[in-house]
C-alpha cells in the first residue's frame, strides 16, 4: 500500500483528441452560439474583441460579467447544451 501511485495515461487509437487551447475553445463557442458573429455584423468589427463577446455571453448565461475566460465561464462552455445559438443570426 505504500507504493507510489503510478500515473497512467494512454493515447487511445481513434480517440478524438481535441487539442484545443482554452482560448480556441472559447472563440469556437462564441462564434457557434452567435456572440462573435452578431457583434461583427453590427459594423463595429474593428472594436470587436473576445472580451466583449465573453461579456455578452456571461450576461446572457447569467454568469459574472468579467469579460475574462475565467474558470466558471470555461466550465460553462464545456457543458452539454442545446444547439440553438444564444444570439440569433
Amino acid at each position: 500500500w505504500s507504493l507510489p501511485l503510478k500515473s497512467l495515461h494512454v493515447i487511445f487509437p481513434g480517440d478524438i483528441i481535441k487539442n484545443m487551447t482554452d482560448m480556441e475553445l472559447a472563440k469556437s463557442y462564441l462564434t457557434k452560439f452567435g456572440y462573435m458573429e452578431n457583434l461583427q455584423r453590427s459594423g463595429f468589427q474593428s472594436i470587436v474583441s473576445t472580451t466583449t463577446a465573453l461579456k455578452k455571453m456571461q450576461q446572457r448565461l447569467g454568469l459574472e460579467e468579467t469579460g475574462q475566460l475565467d474558470p466558471p465561464t470555461l466550465e460553462a462552455m464545456k457543458q452539454p447544451r442545446c444547439g440553438l445559438p444564444d444570439v440569433a443570426n
Binding site: 452539454p80 447544451r81 440553438l84
Partner: protein, 562 residues
C-alpha cells in the same frame, strides 16, 4: 425568459406533432411517453393541445439524427450539442432534432424495458445481484442461448423476477420485417454475416440485419438495437464491451477511467486491449430525453434561451429528479399563448361530465371538528390508498391523511371529501394515482371519476375500462410499474393498461393464485413503502416484494395513532 424576434408563435392552439424515427437507446414506448410528457409540461400551463400524427406533415416533426442530418446545423458526436429545434413556422420551422450520438435515457443511467420473462415488461433494476455478483447492465450469464437478460428487482436470487433485454435475437425495429428477429448467419450481397452490420448503409452508423437467411433474395431487414453494453466512439462503435478485459496487464471486470485524463469510462471490446487496441466509451447516466425534449419543444413553441439558470429554457443541460416548470418558463409561454383557464381540453365523451374548477376548492382543505368523526372509532375504512406520498383513509364522506414515510403521529383530518373533490360521492371504494399523468382515479360502486387538479371527468361506468357487468365495486388498486394498475374486486383482480385505459386480456385472475396468504376478498389493497397491504375488516396483511406475508396487524394501531 426571451422570445424570438417578432414574438414568433403558432397561429393556432391545436398543435400536431409526429415522431419520425426512434433512438436505439430507449424502448419505443418509453420514447413516446417521454415526448408526450414533454409536451404536457407546456400544455399544463397554457391553452395549447398536442395531438400526435402518425403520417403526413405535423407542425412539430420530431426526429433523431447524427452529425450531418439534413439541416445546416450538424451535431457533434457524443456530448456537446444534444439537440436543437426551430421556432414556429412552416417547413423545417417548429421541428425538433435530437443527436443520436448521445446516450438517451431518462437521465439516471441505462433504462431497459424487458420483454417476455415473468416481470410483465417491467424495467430492469440496475444494479441487480445474481449468484453473488452485481450487474449494472444486462447479462447473458446463466444462459446458454446468449440472450441478454436482467432482473427487475434488486436481488434475482430472492425475487426471481426477470425479463429479456433488447436483443436482435428477439426482435428488430424499423426496417420492413415487422420487428422479426435477426437470422444469423445471413447473406448480403453474396457475403455471409454472423452479426449485425453497418455494411450497405449510406449513413454507416446504424447496425442492421436480415430477418431471413438471405437478404439478397428476400429483402427483409430490421435495425438492431444497441446493447446497453455497446460502446460509443473509440474504434469499436456499437460493439459490446468484453468483460473481463486486460489493460496494461491488469484485468478489468467493468468499465474504467484508467488511462484517460478526462475521467470518462471506457471498455475494451476484445479480451485484451494491450494486444488488440479495440475500445470504446461506455454508457454513462445519459441525458434525459424528457428534459431535453421539454426544452426543445419550448423553442418549437416560440421560446428562446433564458438566462435564468434554474429555468428549463436555460441552454445548458442539467438533470433534475422531480421536474417542475420554473416560473420564468411559465411566464414566457403565457406571454405568448396566455394562461390555461379551466379544465384540460379532451375529446367529447357522451357519458362524461366535465366540470370547471371551483374557486372555493383551490385552497387547502380545512379539517372539520375531530369530534365529528373520530378516526379511532372507524372499524372498517371504505378505502385506504397512497396519493402523492400520503396515506389516505376514506370513510363515509371524510378522509384523513398522513405522510407515507413518517410514523403515524402526523395524522391530519378529518376533512370532507366534498370539499377537496366536490364531484365524488360519499363512499369511495378505491382510489389511485396514475404515476405518469398524476391524475387521480376514484371508484365508487360501478362508477369512476378522474381528477386532474380541480377539474374532473366522470362519472363514467367501470364497464368503459372493460370490467364486466358482474363487478359491483372496485375494492382496491395497486400500481404495477408506471403504466399498469391492478384492480381488485371480490376474489379476482384485473390488470388495467393506463395507456389504453382498458383491462388486459388474460384477466381476471384469482387473488389467491398471485398473492398467497392474504384474505381471498380484501376490502382494500394498497402499496406503502415497498410493501403491499391487503386489509379486511380491522386487520391488514403486509406482503413483501417477494410475496411473503411478513406481518398481520390492526389498521388502527399500526397505521393510525389509536
Amino acid at each position: 425568459y426571451k422570445t424570438f424576434d417578432g414574438d414568433v408563435k403558432w397561429d393556432h392552439n391545436d398543435i400536431t406533432y409526429r415522431i419520425l424515427n426512434y433512438s436505439p437507446d430507449l424502448d419505443i414506448s418509453l420514447t413516446d411517453d417521454a415526448f408526450a410528457r414533454a409536451f404536457k409540461v407546456w400544455s399544463d400551463v397554457t391553452p395549447l393541445t398536442f395531438t400526435r400524427l402518425y403520417e403526413g406533415t405535423a407542425d412539430i416533426m420530431v426526429s433523431f439524427g447524427k452529425g450531418d442530418h439534413g439541416d445546416p446545423y450538424p451535431f457533434d458526436g457524443k456530448d456537446g450539442l444534444l439537440a436543437h429545434a426551430y421556432p414556429p413556422g412552416q417547413g423545417i420551422q417548429g421541428d425538433a432534432h435530437f443527436d443520436d450520438d448521445e446516450n438517451w435515457t431518462l437521465g439516471n443511467g441505462p433504462v431497459s424495458k424487458t420483454r417476455y420473462g415473468n416481470a410483465e415488461g417491467a424495467l430492469c433494476h440496475f444494479p441487480f445481484t445474481f449468484e453473488g455478483k452485481s450487474y449494472t447492465t444486462c447479462t447473458t450469464d446463466g444462459r446458454s442461448d446468449n440472450l441478454p437478460w436482467c432482473a427487475t428487482t434488486a436481488d434475482f436470487g430472492r425475487d426471481k423476477k426477470y425479463g429479456f433485454c433488447p436483443s436482435e435475437l428477439l426482435y428488430t425495429f424499423g426496417g420492413n420485417a415487422d420487428a422479426a428477429p435477426c437470422v444469423f448467419p445471413f447473406v448480403f450481397q453474396g457475403k455471409e454475416y454472423s452479426k449485425c452490420t453497418t455494411e450497405g448503409r449510406q449513413d454507416r452508423n446504424r447496425l442492421w440485419c436480415a430477418t431471413t437467411a438471405n437478404y439478397d433474395d428476400d429483402k427483409k431487414w430490421g435495425l438492431c438495437r444497441d446493447k446497453d453494453t455497446a460502446v460509443s466512439g473509440g474504434n469499436s462503435e456499437g460493439e459490446p464491451c468484453h468483460f473481463p478485459f486486460t489493460f496494461q496487464g491488469q484485468v478489468y471486470d467493468a468499465c474504467t477511467s484508467d488511462g484517460r485524463g478526462d475521467g470518462r469510462l471506457w471498455g475494451a471490446t476484445t479480451a485484451n486491449y494491450d494486444d488488440d487496441k479495440k475500445w470504446g466509451l461506455c454508457r454513462d447516466k445519459g441525458y434525459s430525453l424528457f428534459l431535453v425534449a421539454a426544452h426543445e419543444f419550448g423553442h418549437a413553441l416560440g421560446l428562446d434561451h433564458s438566462n435564468v439558470r434554474q429555468a428549463l429554457m436555460y441552454p445548458m443541460y442539467s438533470y433534475v429528479e422531480n421536474f417542475s416548470l420554473h416560473k420564468d418558463d411559465i411566464a414566457g409561454i403565457q406571454y405568448l399563448y396566455g394562461r390555461r383557464e379551466g379544465p384540460l381540453p379532451t375529446p367529447p365523451r357522451p357519458t362524461t361530465t366535465t366540470a370547471a374548477p371551483r374557486p372555493t376548492t383551490t385552497t387547502a382543505p380545512t379539517p372539520v371538528d375531530p369530534t365529528t368523526k373520530d378516526v379511532c372509532k372507524v372499524n372498517k375504512f371504505d378505502s385506504i390508498t397512497v396519493i402523492k406520498n400520503y396515506l389516505y383513509f376514506f370513510s363515509d364522506g371524510y378522509y384523513w391523511t398522513r405522510s407515507s414515510r413518517a410514523q403515524n403521529g402526523d395524522l391530519k383530518g378529518p376533512f370532507r371529501v366534498s370539499q377537496r373533490w366536490p364531484a365524488l360521492p360519499t363512499v369511495i371504494d378505491a382510489a389511485f394515482e396514475d404515476l405518469v399523468t398524476r391524475k387521480l382515479y376514484f371508484f365508487s360502486g360501478r362508477q369512476f371519476w378522474v381528477y386532474t387538479g380541480q377539474s374532473f371527468l366522470g362519472p363514467r361506468s367501470i364497464e368503459k375500462l372493460g370490467l364486466p357487468a358482474s363487478v359491483r365495486t372496485v375494492e382496491g388498486a395497486l400500481q404495477r410499474g408506471r403504466t399498469k394498475v391492478l384492480l381488485f374486486s371480490g376474489e379476482k383482480y384485473w390488470r388495467l393498461d393506463m395507456k389504453t385505459q382498458t383491462v388486459e386480456r388474460g384477466y381476471p385472475r384469482y387473488i389467491h393464485t398471485a398473492f398467497g396468504g392474504v384474505p381471498s376478498e380484501p376490502h382494500d389493497v394498497f402499496q406503502l413503502n415497498g410493501y403491499t397491504y391487503f386489509s379486511w375488516d380491522r386487520f391488514y396483511w403486509r406482503m413483501t416484494p417477494s410475496k411473503q406475508v411478513d406481518r398481520v396487524g390492526y389498521v388502527k394501531y399500526d397505521l393510525l395513532p389509536c
